[in-house]
Symmetry: C2
Subunit: 261 residues, 2 copies
């Protein structure tokens, strides 16, 4: 809703740095995030203290279960480092990853009191956990927190709608192009206001299985499609689970279906 949210209240002086380099601040379970979606924008010192005191830091190895579908929704999490996958499953094991939560994102909201989805860490994840009753209390005491959360959920809903368009109407090629651009965008958002890279890098810490389950494809199709894009010199693999986007504009054309091939 908030069309013009108040400027973010920075806990550290000056320009924000990458999450990895703010370890000290993370002790208070920093909820501030320079990007859209920061939950603590406009919250006063006392409020931030209250937030800090109702949360506990967690460090989770890759493949940890954070949330199980159907279980009682006891916790609300804010991710400060690493990537979490959220998913829904069918009884026979088919799985749809509904999104990846990167640093600055939250997870754990529930209407019914039961989690409607599962969540598992992709890599090593640092997160802050709030117990539900305490978080509800904070929400009532801090109108700005409630408002920021509403804005953040509204954002997630828009993202979900975009993903529905992808799942229902895009080809494999368009899906993969969209995914890579989305990952590069997430990285850009996390980096903060740095100059835009003409050949941005998409961090891909997840396996082909996860990508396939996110795009509604099989691992073979994902692999083949990435290979094709590489062969066409639109992208290039870099070290440690990243893909460099050599021609972002061309990829964007593909992602939005504006290309014949």
């Amino acid at each position: 809703m908030s069309q013009t949210p108040p400027p973010p209240l920075h806990l550290t002086a000056g320009r924000h740095t990458r999450p990895e380099r703010t370890e000290g601040d993370l002790q208070h379970c920093l909820l501030c995030d320079r990007s859209r979606g920061g939950l603590c924008n406009g919250i006063d010192r006392d409020g931030l203290e209250a937030l800090a005191h109702s949360s506990r830091r967690l460090i989770l190895p890759p493949g940890s279960t954070m949330v199980e579908e159907g279980q009682s929704a006891e916790s609300f999490f804010n991710i400060t480092r690493g990537t979490v996958k959220l998913f829904k499953s069918l009884p026979d094991g088919r799985r749809q990853i509904t999104g990846f939560a990167d640093p600055g994102q939250f997870l754990g909201l529930s209407r019914s009191g039961l989690y409607a989805f599962g969540a598992e860490t992709v890599d090593t994840v640092h997160a802050c956990r709030f117990q539900r009753p305490q978080f509800e209390a904070l929400l009532n005491d801090q109108p700005d927190l409630k408002r920021n959360l509403l804005a953040a959920v509204t954002d997630k809903l828009a993202e979900a709608q975009e993903q529905m368009l992808l799942l229902g109407r895009k080809t494999a090629r368009e899906k993969v192009a969209s995914f890579l651009l989305g990952r590069a965008q997430a990285e850009q958002t996390m980096l903060g206001d740095t100059p835009p890279d003409p050949t941005p890098v998409a961090p891909v810490p997840m396996t082909r299985v996860d990508i396939a389950d996110y795009l509604g494809l099989t691992i073979e199709t994902v692999s083949r499609t990435i290979s094709a894009l590489r062969r066409e010199k639109l992208i290039a693999s870099t070290e440690n689970h990243s893909i460099r986007i050599l021609l972002p504009e061309a990829l964007r054309q593909i992602a939005t279906g504006q290309t014949a091939i």
Copy 2:
């Protein structure tokens, strides 16, 4: 978020009736809804007065554009009668319907100030329109409204995740079965606390094109699949754009992929 929301505040005495039969009350742009998602739960008389005075009733013929993707988000709507389709499109015209808004549902939230989706009436729709600034003000004055809205958006997000599972991982048959059950559920929710029908009716005011765009299929596949279900006596067409579910449990098995055929 609200695990145990306050009981709904009924504007009419006694048990709620169908939206169609509460024309008188709708003059105040009734935001109350007996089902989950009611926006005015717990709001006091003064608050309801304020809500009523900031909204205008609209009656829209079928096929009216309520919201255009990319346009400035000036209004927030609450549907009181009829069905609205929300969708996203690709430049070449491919379209994904991301949801249908039935009576009691809202639409028009935006984070960026621009609508991220389009919305068009399916049949004749009665809605209440709030101007954005006034609605924002109401939101700030009425903590319960903000909380209810957060709960409602959280609900929509869960729905979106369910739809992503459908779009990414279900077969045509499973998609159509899920759709019919969802429609029947929506009708049940709208009817309020009436005894559950052993052969519920799914209202289907939308065309095959809309169903196809909602399920990520073509109209031919939708038609063939409905025909097959009818041939198998799992469903039966009734009068005026409705489908009766003859074997809800069997259909549920199909919808969740728990059937070999």
